[in-house]
Symmetry: C2
Subunit: 430 residues, 2 copies
């Protein structure tokens, strides 16, 4: 790459403006460290009439070919979002030898293999740090620093909106709906929060992270996800009393060589590293026998944070040999996905029952019949009803599923029992 590197950008919103500003303000540092001078070239926008602070007005264009078909553009930054036409455009660029930096989580979680194959074909590079957890450099760390560390599990709080809501529910005893409204008022949640609170956003990020961590191909369609929208404040409170903190977790692990990736609410022991991650922060905990636990923490969103990750990817391209890292990885399917029944977990179980003599004995024997063993029991009478809360020992999830079916059939059980994953062996101290 020549000494002057020209950037073409698709999209000129908040992140794009941040990219232009960082490149302008740190040009000297970048040149001193890498030997390259980075210059902003054409920026594709939909509406050329809007003001775009930080971006040179003369570089703004509404013609995609001014970026995509421009021989003066060395690297394309994609911050426009969406899957179509972004996907075709980036495949075209990569195939023709232009390296691409993208912040597009949905695109990566669905089409990473196709994009990486196009990069291999064109001898170009694809980087996407900003697609997961903004400026927390988890992709670079997994892809480069821990490439040979044989990562066994990736566990993360990768959605800031839900972590903010859960933190507020625990700290001030708010109900879910109230905490969500507050998050919306403060700009932590969107007007339509489905993607965040339903777990879809976290699932996309976990698909990307697990692909890199395990050198395989995981699509968002491989990631079952349960959000926090069904979570009840009561359970958050009871969990807290028992010494647990409730989090929306992405959990990816290797189980006998197969890959399991899921997103669901989980109770985290109070002294677990992820329990201390509050507010809109994100954290990813990487485990392997070689490096034990490495955790990366930081803001998982934000305009300048995302822009910083984009710029760092540009610098990575400048500093690296084309085709280094990743190479064949991700393009091959690599590993099978694990079967659901093959997993072990501890659980929190809440059952609201009619307060009749012998009900605890009957519930216990249903569990025991399925081979599920109880670690902790908390029973509270409430008039004619009683609330049973149990922590179930770590064991095969298939047995718990079986027990749940039998519990639902008990005449004393009033509502659908509540079942929440517990991280670790069920103890409130890790």
């Amino acid at each position: 790459m020549s000494d002057i590197v020209r950037i073409g950008m698709l999209g000129g919103g908040t992140v794009g403006q941040g990219v232009a500003r960082i490149i302008r303000d740190t040009a000297h540092t970048i040149e001193r460290a890498t030997g390259h001078r980075i210059e902003m070239g054409p920026v594709l926008v939909r509406d050329a009439s809007l003001g775009r602070p930080g971006i040179d007005p003369s570089s703004i264009t509404t013609d995609p070919q001014a970026v995509l078909g421009n021989p003066d553009v060395d690297i394309i930054i994609e911050v426009m979002g969406g899957v179509d036409p972004t996907r075709e455009w980036l495949v075209q660029a990569l195939r023709s030898g232009t390296s691409v930096v993208t912040a597009n989580k949905q695109l990566l979680a669905r089409h990473a293999p196709e994009l990486l194959a196009a990069a291999e074909e064109g001898g170009s590079e694809l980087r996407f740090e900003a697609s997961v957890c903004a400026a927390i450099p988890v992709i670079k760390v997994l892809r480069e620093s821990l490439l040979a560390a044989e990562i066994e599990s990736v566990m993360g709080i990768v959605n800031g909106t839900t972590n903010y809501i859960l933190t507020e529910m625990r700290k001030s005893g708010m109900a879910y709906a109230e905490a969500l409204t507050q998050a919306q008022d403060l700009g932590y949640a969107e007007a339509d929060p489905t993607e965040d609170v339903g777990g879809g956003d976290a699932a996309a990020k976990m698909a990307i992270l697990s692909s890199i961590a395990f050198h395989t191909r995981v699509s968002i369609d491989d990631v079952p996800h349960v959000g926090i929208d069904q979570l009840q404040g009561d359970d958050v409170d009871i969990a807290h009393e028992l010494g647990f903190v409730t989090k929306l977790l992405g959990v990816a692990r290797l189980v006998d060589g197969a890959v399991s990736v899921r997103v669901h609410p989980a109770l985290v022991p109070g002294d677990h590293p992820l329990a201390a991650i509050n507010g809109a922060d994100n954290a990813v905990l990487l485990e392997s026998s070689i490096v034990r636990q490495i955790m990366l923490v930081g803001p998982g969103a934000g305009g300048t944070e995302t822009a910083s990750a984009v710029v760092s990817d540009v610098l990575s391209i400048l500093g690296s040999n084309p085709g280094s890292f990743l190479g064949g990885a991700l393009v091959d399917a690599g590993r099978p996905m694990a079967q659901d029944g093959s997993l072990d977990s501890a659980f929190y179980l809440r059952i609201d029952v009619a307060d009749k003599p012998g009900v605890l004995a009957r519930v216990s024997s249903v569990l025991s019949d399925s081979g599920v063993s109880i670690l902790t029991v908390l029973q509270r009478g409430e008039g004619e009803a009683a609330r049973l809360v149990m922590i179930l020992h770590r064991g095969p999830e298939s047995r718990v599923t079986e027990a749940m079916a039998a519990l639902r059939a008990l005449p004393e059980v009033r509502d659908e029992p509540v079942l929440i994953h517990v991280v670790g062996d069920g103890q409130a101290s890790a």
Copy 2:
């Protein structure tokens, strides 16, 4: 670099054996991701008669030139330690164009500029992730991911021995000496613990980190350090009551363009991210206006962890253009060091005084005369003595130094007053 990359290694101890094992076990992953096959070549040891599991006995040599003067060696890994003759050997290798990976903290903290200049001259690369916090990839993150993030401060728990001791003192109320003995029994502290408990080890790491973070040249001689060996259990307990956790911190920051780097005990607010780092873990908190706070956490020592960092540096060399990143940085002095008096801090102050009427008033007025303002006071009578504990508002350290001289001169003050830095503005909640 050719498809087969041959490693020469200086040193064949625990870390070297770990390196050989990781390279052997992950050869396939590495080749698939980078396109290079890594092979272990000659390994220099002092005593060829010792068993060295993981290392091929036929590769062992006691002749330095079998590694240094060997045209088949593409990359040299240095895990022998020491400053002489290591320094000359590595300078020679780098100058002649052989890239070097080293885990040698003391060498880097003293001679980084000379080594980097030799690398620039020879067109070779110098990498040293393993020299700070083992497998926590803080150097790669600072050097590459956050190169353009304009880091303003680096605050770290970078010594596991002292963090283990402080955690035990707080959790089980042990005195310093007792906790040290336990750490020695469990292998967390060396027989001669001076380097760790005196802060020298942390100072060397902070010199390296601050050099990279601020693109400048900081030697260990520029880093004043106070250890935990003078710390009293009483102060750890009182701080805990007040909502603080006591840590040995490395603190590096930019003050009006100048660099301040220090190591000293500090009280950290209970809800500060560094407060939750327990036992022998390390953590580094990076702050900038662009990315807010990024924290990296993990085991800061260990044979396989250090070996993993060494291997990741080898992979970084394979994947990068020679001379990319760093370049001129570190070789130039870059920025001046800040003057001590120019810094601000909040403080914990403990004074044991004779319990006479008016003593609190006299102490308060001495502080006020120097322009030091009090945030919190705790006074406890103990027979004829009284113990005054104060948290002093954040303000110029020079004023506190001045006030200390005046306090020592008060007839009621019995012992040397105890002064400990407090992170933040003095509040126990960040």
